[in-house]
Each structure stands twice: as structure tokens, then as C-alpha cells.
């Protein structure tokens, strides 16, 4: 495997947060000062040995890193093609990759002297991860969550409460993740002096997409070391699900300079792209401006953001991180979409064949791998980011299975 010329992506974003035409700082004036401060402070700490050492210590001792790569041998044999390897982010504390980023941002918040953190959450995973680190570092924590999501994810709401966070229901708009993000922005604009906004994905105004990518890149960096040791070489494909895109960016980013490694992001096709009931902003959206950055968005002809659908709440977002928009346009990564039914089939297969209950989000990446593997020779290697575990999805899966039985 040869190291390609240092790809231009390594240099991105530019000083003002642009990835080509995407990214940037599209926020109301009141927040510019806080974002400038964050940019300056992050630039100072990202290479500060003491900060990096503290981050790595927390990742090892609190999160449980490194997470292993695991050869899904039985499943690969059954599919009869490429070898599927799983990056086990599901084994992290709190059950997903989200905690990597929350640790990083909480350490930064502490250095900035902010004692109050806020977050938005959809399925509740980022909310739980934020509540967790807030408890760990003794900070006040407010989590904004759409009232519709609160209804769907009662267990995660309870977890956040146990961890001492206050969950605030959001009743505006579609009452889901995007509205929770709007409300978190409104809180931040009001309490900008005292408050650190822990954004959960590689979206939002600069420097968030870069910062969250950097914190999540630990995933891909570990793979770079683990794959040659455990699998004998780097993979041919790296596959990850994309909602906002933080787990994908985390595993893709270190692989971007490796030109022989194909990067595939898997979006949620919901009930099918043709039905309009999906959350595939890169596959079916147009560029626009939302939540502080320019990126691909699901929107109507008037530029209003439309409601999305996916069986997995974590992918149910009408935008996507701006670096993914850039990777798509530049051709460095490819983006595909997997339906609810395909994701559920992969979910069940992973449970039965590998003894691993994956998150429904990650099941989208698994589903694409199961489509791709049989088309490739046995020597080919697919590395799939198993970004989270599926304990949180029990109710959703049980409900769908019951409905299926009833109609059968």
C-alpha cells in the first residue's frame, strides 16, 4: 500500500472554515465572537502536548480505547466474497463513538472556563455522551431534544436524567433533531458568555466540523495501525454510515491520503429515495445553508428544510457535515444509500451470525458491506465502522418486527 501525495483535503478547511465551497461561518453576529474565541483556543490546544496527553488519557481510561478491529469471519464466509472487518466503536463507554468528541470538547470547555455545557440530541446518544462527560467533569448540562424524539427515546431521556442533565423538550418545527439544534443555538446566543455548546457531529459553523473531525479521527488512526497488524494490510474499502457524518469523518480522515483505499459513506434511504421519505442529503439533496454551514441539504424548491425519515434516529437529519460535501464533489469518497428494510436485515444478520447487536445507524454501513462483499474476491478487505451498539434500538426493532408479523 503506497502513501499517495498528501491530498489537499489534509489542508482543509481553510482559515475561515471552508472545504471548497462548503463549510464556513453562517451564524448570527452575536455568535461570531464566541466562535472566534473557540477557533483561537482550539488552534492553541490542538497541538499542545499537555492537552493531547489529557485527551488520550481519558480515551484510554474512561472510554476504554483503543477499540479493537474484529474479523467477522462467519459472516464473510456466508457472504462468499470479501473479508469484513468491524471497527468496534460499539464497545466504547456509553456505547458509541459519540463520547470521543464529547471528551475533547469538555476538556476544551474546561480550559475556556465554561461551567455550563449545552447539547442537541436526536436519538439521545450524543445527549447521553454529553451528560456523561458533564458528570465526569462536574459541569452543568442542558440537553435540547425534540418532543417527538423524547417520546421515541424515553430510555435515553431517563439515562440523561440519571447522569444529572436537564433535558429540555423542543416543541417548535418538526420537533426533532434539527429543531433541537435551533433551540441549542438560541440558548447559546443568550448565554454565550457562560456556556460551551458541545455540537455532536461534524457540522455547524467553523471550527466545529474540523474540531469534531479531529477528535473523532482517533478511530481511523487506530485502524491505520491495527489493520496491518491484524489483517495483514490496509483495507480496500472503508465503509461508514453518514447522518451528520462524525463517525464516518473519524474513520475516513486518516485514510484520505491513502489513494488505494476507497471511502464509502452510507446514508439513510428510509422507505426508498424515490418515496421522498429518507434522510439522504448527499445522495438526494442540494447545497444550501443551514445551522452555520454550507452543505448538501434536503429542502424544497423554496429553500425550506424538509422533514426527514429514517428508522434510525441518529441518521434522521436533513444536512450533513461540509467535509463530506467536499469529499463527494471531489470524488474522494462515494456516497450511497440503504433503506430501512435493508438496514434491519443487516441488523438481524449481525445479531445472529456474529453475536453483536449493532446500532441501527451502523446497520446501514453493514448492509452496504453485505451487498458489496459478494461482488469482490475473497482476498479483498472491507473495514466497516461499527459506530455504536443497538441496545438503544430494542423498542424500535421489536415494534417493526411485531408489525411485520402482524401483516405476514
Amino acid at each position: 500500500m503506497q502513501m499517495a501525495e498528501l491530498a489537499p483535503e489534509r489542508e482543509l478547511p481553510d482559515e475561515r472554515g471552508h472545504f471548497g465551497p462548503y463549510g464556513g461561518v453562517f451564524v448570527a453576529e452575536t455568535l461570531i465572537g464566541a466562535l472566534d474565541e473557540l477557533k483561537t483556543q482550539y488552534a492553541r490546544y490542538r497541538d499542545d502536548p499537555e492537552f493531547v496527553a489529557e485527551f488520550e488519557y481519558e480515551l484510554e481510561h474512561y472510554v476504554g480505547r483503543p477499540s479493537p478491529v474484529y474479523h467477522a469471519e462467519r459472516w464473510s464466509r456466508e457472504l462468499g466474497g470479501a473479508q469484513i472487518w468491524l471497527k468496534r466503536e460499539d464497545l466504547n463507554h456509553t456505547g458509541a463513538h459519540k463520547i470521543n468528541n464529547c471528551i475533547g470538547q469538555a476538556l476544551l470547555a474546561r480550559r475556556l472556563g465554561k461551567r455550563r455545557v449545552i447539547a442537541e440530541t436526536g436519538a439521545g446518544q450524543h445527549g447521553v455522551a454529553t451528560a456523561t462527560v458533564a458528570a465526569r467533569f462536574g459541569m452543568e448540562c442542558i440537553v435540547y431534544m425534540g418532543s417527538e424524539d423524547i417520546r421515541r427515546q424515553a430510555q435515553n431521556v431517563y439515562r440523561m436524567n440519571l447522569l444529572g442533565a436537564k433535558v429540555v423538550p423542543v416543541e417548535s418545527g418538526s420537533k426533532t433533531l434539527k429543531d433541537a439544534l435551533n433551540e441549542a443555538m438560541r440558548d447559546w446566543v443568550t448565554n454565550v458568555d457562560s456556556t460551551f455548546y458541545i455540537i455532536g457531529t461534524v457540522a455547524g459553523p467553523h471550527p466545529y466540523p474540523m474540531m469534531v473531525r479531529d477528535f473523532q479521527s482517533v478511530i481511523g488512526r487506530e485502524c491505520l495501525t491495527q489493520m496491518p497488524e491484524d489483517a495483514g494490510r490496509q483495507p480496500d474499502y472503508v465503509i461508514a454510515c453518514v447522518g451528520g457524518g462524525s463517525n464516518a469523518m473519524g474513520i475516513f480522515h486518516p485514510y484520505v491520503p491513502y489513494a488505494d483505499v476507497k471511502l464509502v459513506g452510507v446514508e439513510a434511504a428510509g422507505e426508498g429515495l424515490a418515496t421522498g421519505h429518507h434522510a439522504a442529503s448527499l445522495c438526494a439533496g442540494r447545497p444550501g445553508v443551514l445551522h452555520g454551514n454550507r452543505t448538501y441539504l434536503l429542502q424544497d424548491a423554496d429553500g425550506q428544510i424538509i422533514e426527514t425519515h429514517s428508522v434510525s434516529a441518529g441518521l434522521d437529519y436533513p444536512g450533513v457535515g461540509p467535509e463530506h460535501a467536499w469529499l463527494k464533489d471531489s470524488g474522494r469518497a462515494q456516497y450511497v444509500a440503504i433503506t430501512d428494510d435493508e438496514a434491519l436485515a443487516a441488523f438481524h444478520a449481525c445479531c445472529r451470525i456474529e453475536g453483536i447487536i449493532p446500532a441501527l445507524e451502523s446497520s446501514h454501513a453493514l448492509a452496504y458491506a453485505t451487498k458489496l462483499a459478494p461482488t469482490l474476491p475473497r482476498e479483498a478487505i472491507l473495514l466497516v465502522n461499527l459506530s455504536g451498539r443497538g441496545d438503544k434500538d430494542m423498542a424500535t426493532v421489536a415494534e417493526r418486527d411485531a408489525a411485520k408479523k402482524a401483516t405476514a
Binding site: 475561515r16 464556513g24 461561518v25 453562517f26 451564524v27 448570527a28 453576529e29 452575536t30 455568535l31 461570531i32 465572537g33 464566541a34 417548535s172 418545527g173 434539527k178 429543531d179 435551533n182 443555538m185 438560541r186 446566543v189 443568550t190 448565554n191 454565550v192 458568555d193 442540494r286 447545497p287 444550501g288 445553508v289 443551514l290 445551522h291 452555520g292 454550507r294 441539504l297 429542502q299 424548491a301 423554496d302 429553500g303 425550506q304 428544510i305 424538509i306
Partner: protein, 280 residues
């Protein structure tokens, strides 16, 4: 001369405060907004800010969010708002109209197409809340080429060097967001506003309008002592949404009349007039 500049010059000469109400287009209906615009001008509005409904109004408080949702329920889009302005312009050739909204509807239409259609419709100024100067140089140029004022916000958190940037890119007036928070918030501090306005005037020669948090005659007067213009949005929307939609224009006009009277009973403004003279 752009209608905005003419209006500020005229009111400055008369020692009066420019009164700028804000309403969301299509709330409670587009036809009602036609009537509301006329009622507001009759009530003494000097400039009217017309909100373009957006699905994700991040900088707005609950009142303007609800207005946006009511308009969107009727699928009111940017092209409807431009048609609304064109209709108004046929009835009224003097009152400036400033569109206020978010970036995405403009980007969906295309910035050049929007600027062109805005010019044809008779739009005088545009405020895009999530276009800070850093991201808006090309857009501001498109507007200025058509004699439409790009209007930018200045916040309590804006440092001096950014004020200069706003002054360089903007025209018409600058909109000072009087508090850290969303539209319609309730913690306005006139003394803090006065201090900040002194700082703004050191860097910005444009007239300064102050908005966010002005809710009655007293707060309007307190701000008018220091500002060239007062902007009132949420309070008028609240007037529109409480009561029968058919009488919304009457209620909005009646309420704004009380503010106009309160402003006009103040002494001739020494600060604004003095500051303006040194600049023009």
C-alpha cells in the same frame, strides 16, 4: 437616492426617530400582510422590515417562530414575498421595504436571481441574519450594484475591528441587536445600549437602528434617545396573532400609532442630529 437614505435624511432633519416595524410575510395570510403593510405606513412607519418565512429561524424567539410557522403552513415562499413587495410598491412609492430572513431561501432561488427580482419588485434593503460580513462580500456587491442596501447586524459581542468591516460592506443602516439573545427577549438594558452605540458611532458612519427587545412606548423612547431608528418586531406579531385574523391590520396599526406618538412627543433629538452632522 435610495429610499432608505432619503428616509433617514428626512427624519434626521426633522429631529425625529425612524420607526421600523417588522412583520413576517404571510402571517396570518399574504392578503392580510398587504393590509398590514398599509396600516403600518398609515400608523407612521418610516421603513418596514418584511420577514421571509423560514423553516429553521435560529435567531428568532418563540413569537416570530410562530409567525414563520403560520406563513409556512400556507407555503409562503420567497417569490411570494417579492410579489407582495411589488404590489406594495404600486400603492406606495416612498416607504422603504427591507427584507429580513435567512440565507437558504435566497440560495435556493440563486443570489443573482434574487437580487434582480428584488430590484424589480422595489426592495430597498436586505438583512440576511446568517450572512455575517465574512460570508457576504459577493452577495453585498450583487445588492449594491442594484442600489439595494445590504444591511448587517452588530451585536453586543461585536469587537471594534468587526464594526469597521460592517461599515465597509453595509449601507442604508446598521442593525444593532440590543441584547444577547433571540428576537423578542425581555432583558433590554438602555444604558448598555447607549454605551455600545457610542462605540459603534466611532467606527460606523451609517445610521444605527436598534432592535430585539423593544416592547412598549417606554422602551422605544429609552432607545430612541440614543439610536437613529427603533425596530419593533415580536410585539407587533403578538398584536397580530391575538384576535381575529381579519382585524390583524387594524390591531397592528393601532398599536404602532401609540409608539409613533410616544416617539414624536420626545424633544428633538440632540445626539442623533449632532452625530449625523459630523458625518454627512
Amino acid at each position: 437616492m435610495n429610499r432608505i437614505d432619503a428616509t433617514f435624511a428626512r427624519q434626521r432633519a426633522a429631529g425625529r426617530t425612524v420607526l421600523i416595524p417588522y412583520v413576517t410575510a404571510g402571517d396570518p395570510s399574504l392578503a392580510a400582510t398587504d393590509e398590514i403593510l398599509d396600516a403600518l405606513t398609515r400608523a407612521g412607519a418610516d421603513v418596514i422590515e418584511v420577514g421571509v418565512p423560514f423553516s429553521d429561524p435560529m435567531a428568532d424567539g418563540p413569537v416570530i417562530q410562530r409567525a414563520s410557522e403560520r406563513a409556512l403552513a400556507q407555503h409562503v415562499g420567497l417569490h411570494h414575498v417579492l410579489d407582495l413587495v411589488a404590489r406594495f410598491r404600486k400603492r406606495n412609492a416612498t416607504t422603504p421595504i427591507v427584507l429580513m430572513g435567512y440565507a437558504n431561501p435566497v440560495e435556493a432561488m440563486g443570489a443573482t436571481a434574487f437580487a434582480e427580482r428584488a430590484r424589480t419588485a422595489g426592495v430597498d434593503g436586505v438583512i440576511i441574519v446568517d450572512y455575517p460580513p465574512e460570508e457576504a462580500a459577493a452577495f453585498a456587491a450583487l445588492l449594491r450594484e442594484r442600489d439595494i442596501a445590504p444591511i448587517f447586524l452588530i451585536a453586543p459581542t461585536t469587537p471594534a475591528e468587526r464594526m469597521a468591516k460592517v461599515a465597509e460592506l453595509g449601507s442604508g443602516y446598521v442593525y444593532y441587536v440590543s441584547l444577547k439573545g433571540v428576537t423578542g427577549a425581555g432583558h433590554l438594558d438602555p444604558d448598555a445600549v447607549a454605551a455600545k452605540l457610542r462605540e459603534i458611532r466611532e467606527h460606523v458612519a451609517l445610521p444605527v437602528g436598534v432592535g430585539f427587545g423593544i416592547r412598549d412606548a417606554a422602551s422605544a423612547q429609552a432607545i430612541a434617545r440614543h439610536a437613529d431608528a427603533v425596530v419593533i418586531g415580536s410585539r407587533i406579531i403578538a398584536e397580530i396573532e391575538t384576535g381575529a385574523p381579519a382585524d390583524a391590520a387594524v390591531r397592528a396599526g393601532a398599536w404602532l400609532t401609540t409608539i409613533r406618538r410616544a416617539l414624536d412627543t420626545m424633544a428633538v433629538k440632540p445626539t442623533a442630529a449632532g452625530a449625523r452632522e459630523s458625518i454627512t
